[in-house]
Point group: C2
Chain length 285, copies 2
Amino acid sequence: MLLQEQSTKTKMSDTKTAIMIIGGAEDRTQKSEILHTFFYRSGSTDASIAIIPSASQQPALNGGQYVKLFETMGAKQIELLDLRRRKECMKPNVLAYLEACTGVFLTGGDQLRLTDILANTPAIEIIRSRVQQGQLTLAGTSAGAAIMGHHMISGGCSGEPPNRSMVELTTGLGILPRLIVDQHFHNRNRMARLVSALCAHPDKLGIGIDEDTCAMVESDGLLQVVGKGTVTIINPCEMSYTNCSCVEPDKPLSVHNLRVHILSHGDRYHLHQGTVFAPTAYALI
Amino acid sequence: MLLQEQSTKTKMSDTKTAIMIIGGAEDRTQKSEILHTFFYRSGSTDASIAIIPSASQQPALNGGQYVKLFETMGAKQIELLDLRRRKECMKPNVLAYLEACTGVFLTGGDQLRLTDILANTPAIEIIRSRVQQGQLTLAGTSAGAAIMGHHMISGGCSGEPPNRSMVELTTGLGILPRLIVDQHFHNRNRMARLVSALCAHPDKLGIGIDEDTCAMVESDGLLQVVGKGTVTIINPCEMSYTNCSCVEPDKPLSVHNLRVHILSHGDRYHLHQGTVFAPTAYALI
């Protein structure tokens, strides 16, 4: 096992790891650009991948689909870590695999189930630490994307003016703590709920990701869009006023001076610098 | 008639006129703040009001509801101008009433029907001219709001990433030419279609108005929000990039650097200066 770990880590030094936040409903055929990118960023045929389907109500079935897909792509090793209870997140064999693997994929389902099982466990601590050190590519789709921030949107609705009661916020897994992620974004008309979430946390950055679309974050903080839809960045850093703290929960919110970017495939945004780049250059219209 | 006109105009000199852009589904009971504001801004008990229900498929019924409401409020004179054909927009008695009245109300329905009947007719020229001179308060709800800009959203959909094919644009009645208005805004999840419209016209200003909400524009360009929901301002004046001109109609749009304000009751925005004000003062959070 030790030899295998060393061998894997040596190979991974050639591969640029990333955090891949996927908006759900990604293409799962052999053509999938997003899943191929995850496979490549995990080490391609040298990849050792962990599938964690804990968000799903049918974890074996849902996780099994990804296992087959990455097997077909040619990953060296794939383990379905079917963690259903918190104590399973402390098992030595699970932790050993997470210490050695090169890619972790969090499936969709219910983000509350995922955080209930994983939060503050050795398993997520290993993942977070190895992601931060660039040793591991982490991808999460739908519920697996929602957990990326410190604050997590766990529910809500659409079809209303922005208001505090239209979004349920709880604590995520804090992989990228500054982000508040929303997924299936334009597909489920979630702009108002993400704005509502940001009103209460204007020190955060809102990231709304459409279906079959990925916000891929490099270790230096550069986010790049991959896929069929858009990634919406809502930056409240210039926000000059909100009535959030004094308005009743079901009453409309005021928010002045949000900066919004809609990014499509190839567009980039630097999370630390707050700058946005077009696919080829920073072009003027 | 001449005496009556002079009398009306003298009384209106005490009343501050406005353009009232209403997001549809406004409260039509006696409690209605928006319709009371229109009544007041038209001269209260000295008001001579024209109801134009041309957008509606049931113009007599729909217009009749507003006639009854303003009668109950105590307007001096109310005429239902049931204009169903363009030639009716040239009739001397219609034009004489529009030259003399102090308030014009455009009902909801289909904005294309409204522009087909009214565009480039003497009737709309009189309304536009008298509104610009501060002689008349003009209100439009739903379809009656959509026609306010030079560019008009005549159809579209939601639940998609912003793209050119999700919004149908045609020519409005140009009362406030710089605006692109969308109504039933958050209620029908129309953020993506308004953004899509603005990509093609970044010299315009997007105004999304929720139901039972009014963007009331004073003669000096100060917009104030009245009502239950929000008015969303999307200002593309700092837009640094869009792929709008080179992307296929159904492919996602990129738009970098939009400035967005969500305004609720009492908030103000200066259309010419691009500045936003909280209800009591320009407060910091």
